[in-house]
């Protein structure tokens, strides 16, 4: 059963033991692998048309640019797997980033200005979780209301003034590992957001796959009634999911706030959409119960790669959102077709 800590290869997917061919197909058609192929194909084709696209600097920028979106998408992945949604994340990133910057310019130690937004994020997450799990308000309504409150509240308090004169050492997202060479191979400097993104994604994937609570998220999203009957507290799981989501949004907010030398204390428009897109395109099943944070990370990088590619192949960046829309539709269609085939193959 999903509630045990027993390792299960892929969440909620049928185990085609013994049949090598169908096993191969199920691996190849796994959403994460497909996305990885799409990403590599894009890098290769645009890179061959314009080598500067895959030159070291732009290549790192592609991974770096959407790292904070990938981090926020980890939390969104959990939220969607539990059959909920959070459309307030973009506004929350704006608020938490502003809190971080305000603390920093008012003389707080740097680590405090990084930590407080994460704690506040967890608190807001707990509030959302409480309203969803205990007061039974649909998450779309809670976060719709919260979106307005955070967005309006932020501008009311800050009047949209930019935060400047941030102290040295505050800029977490601009830090890099030293470049070095080993065995004649030169390893370039890696920006910290990339490392944070990879580490957090790895932890999240392992936690969601192997821990009891992590497995329970899939169980709640897949079949809430069955989860309840097997002794999982849906309320407790939903609280956990939304608190963790708040933590990841907090980390994303710190990365967002520390990437430039100023903080525009407004809500980045359309950010929640990019985060949800990364989670959904990354293979979080639109029907709940399935998905991994790894797919969300690849999808966030893919979005960044597409955005950058438009510039290099000389297509107006104004078409970016249309491309993203088509990308979501295609991945969702592929997901639906795969489900139908799985259902047909298993004789459901």
């Amino acid at each position: 059963m999903t509630a045990t800590a027993k390792p299960v290869p892929t969440p909620a997917r049928r185990d085609d033991t013994g049949n090598f061919v169908s096993r191969l197909i199920s691996i190849v058609s796994s959403q994460e692998i497909i996305l990885l192929f799409v990403l590599i194909a894009l890098l290769a084709s645009v890179g061959s048309a314009n080598p500067r696209y895959v030159a070291e600097r732009n290549f790192i920028n592609i991974f770096n640019g959407n790292a904070y979106i990938a981090v926020a998408a980890i939390g969104m992945t959990m939220v969607i797997i539990s059959r909920n949604i959070d459309i307030s994340v973009g506004s929350l990133i704006g608020v938490l980033g502003t809190i971080s910057g305000t603390l920093a310019i008012n003389g707080s130690p740097i680590w405090v200005s990084w930590l407080v937004p994460i704690l506040v994020g967890a608190l807001v997450g707990a509030a959302i979780g409480f309203m969803v799990a205990y007061l039974r308000i649909p998450s779309i309504v809670v976060t719709l209301g919260l979106l307005s409150i955070l967005k309006g509240g932020l501008i009311t308090v800050t009047s949209g003034e930019w935060i400047t004169d941030l102290p040295e050492g505050f800029f977490l997202a601009q830090m890099k590992t030293p470049a070095f060479s080993i065995l004649g191979l030169s390893i370039p400097a890696i920006p910290s957001p990339i490392i944070i993104m990879f580490v957090l994604t790895l932890i999240a994937v392992l936690w969601m796959r192997y821990s009891q609570t992590g497995r329970a998220i899939y169980a709640v999203g897949g079949n809430a009634e069955a989860a309840r009957l097997s002794g999982i507290s849906e309320k407790r799981i939903l609280m956990t999911v939304f608190i963790l989501n708040g933590v990841f949004v907090g980390i994303a907010a710190v990365l967002w706030a520390t990437q430039l030398s100023i903080i525009q204390s407004t809500v980045p428009p359309g950010l929640e959409l990019q985060i949800i897109t990364a989670a959904v395109v990354g293979g979080v099943s639109i029907l709940g119960g399935v998905g991994t944070a790894f797919g969300a990370m690849i999808a966030a990088i893919l979005l960044s790669a597409i955005n950058s590619a438009l510039v290099f192949i000389d297509i107006s960046p104004y078409w970016f959102r249309a491309v993203v829309g088509i990308l979501i539709l295609v991945t969702v269609l592929a997901d639906m077709l795969r489900r139908r085939r799985t259902a047909a193959a298993s004789g459901d």
Binding site: K151, G152, I155, V280, Y318, A322, G325, I328, L329, M336
Partner: protein, 333 residues
């Protein structure tokens, strides 16, 4: 207006009087009266005929979109793409007409093309939802990005201005002393209220929201009906685009951003359950009127636009909390 019927609530056993008093519309109407009184006391400019009529001008676009949104949410669906459809329709209207553009259609023809495009956008949503089985939230999230992207791609961030004088009658003119677009809104309010409460089609929407499989087995063409309401939603977004362009005399690709949230807030505030199965046009009308009057009254009282957004978000959550609380009490009784 004879538009409020609640199949669920009417079945409950409590006395008719408490049933009426505990309806979301009635509670909301009381909140509306309370809000109007408080706002009128805080500013003497609020409760004037010219101010109220002017607010009618401003709420028409949200209102037009909130009406089909009520249909959709009653069936248990959602349409997040309405703001983007408005954007792409506005852009295409200007693009088709633009005297220095590639098409140079007569303005009348451009309006028709724009309305047809809106309907097509909604139709695409409906087809994907019904025939491929993608949940409405995800479908319209994708088309939210897609349609806005088309608006941005087609316009290349250029706006189109310089429309002929007659075009502004709809968005800026008056008929019998009332803003022109308010007549359009009233017309659609009456039509949608009658459809929802007095036709087989309208009653079927409740059936779909309560139990889609059951509805299908009792002979309701659920797929067709769903496609129709999403296409209708697209058409109404096109109408809203036409009025919007006429009101602000220009087209920009970011028009209608966030409109979906306002429309959903109005519908949910009006007592339509986000899970489907209950709701009414009267509730939605009170919902969007309340939101607009709050916006206006608070700004007259010196609260900034952004402060107003906070109030609306709070009102939305509180209204649902109170409604949930009352529903639970009635169900327990």
């Amino acid at each position: 207006m004879a538009a409020s019927s609640h199949p669920i609530e009417e079945r409950q056993g409590s006395s008719p009087l408490t049933n009426i008093l505990l309806r979301q519309e009635v509670i909301l109407f009381l909140i509306l009266i309370l809000a109007v009184t408080l706002l009128a006391l805080s500013s003497d400019k609020f409760l004037t005929v010219s101010n109220i009529l002017n607010q009618g001008r401003l709420l028409t676009e949200i209102g037009l979109v909130a009406l089909p949104m009520t249909f959709i949410i009653i069936t248990g669906g959602i349409d997040l793409s309405v703001g983007s459809i408005l954007g792409v329709c506005a852009i295409v209207l200007g693009y088709m007409w633009n005297p220095s553009g590639p098409f140079q259609l007569p303005l009348e023809a451009a309006i028709i093309v724009s309305l047809a495009l809106g309907t097509l956008c909604g139709l695409v949503n409906g087809l994907i939802i019904v025939y491929i089985g993608v949940p409405p939230l995800i479908t319209t999230l994708a088309t939210l990005a897609l349609y806005r992207g088309l608006a941005e791609g087609i316009s290349q961030a250029r706006s189109v201005r310089g429309y002929p004088e007659w075009f502004f009658q709809l968005g800026q003119g008056e008929v019998l002393g009332v803003p022109t677009q308010l007549w359009v809104l009233v017309f659609f309010v009456i039509v949608t209220a009658i459809i929802l409460s007095r036709t087989v089609f309208g009653r079927s929407l409740y059936a779909i929201g309560n139990n889609e499989l059951g509805a299908r087995f009792s002979g309701i063409p659920t797929g067709l009906y769903k496609i129709i309401i999403y296409a209708f939603s697209g058409f109404m977004s096109g109408m809203a685009a036409w009025i919007f362009v006429s009101r602000v005399t220009t087209t920009r690709s970011d028009m209608g951003s966030g409109l979906e949230l306002d429309a959903i807030a109005a519908v949910v505030l009006g007592g339509t359950s986000i899970f489907g199965g209950t709701g009414s046009i009267v509730g939605t009308v009170i919902g969007f009127v309340l939101i607009q009057l709050l916006k206006n009254g608070l700004s007259l009282a010196g609260v900034t636009t952004d402060g107003t957004i906070v109030v609306i978000g709070t009102v939305l959550i509180l209204a649902i909390l109170i409604n949930n609380f009352i529903q639970r009490r009635t169900n327990a009784a």
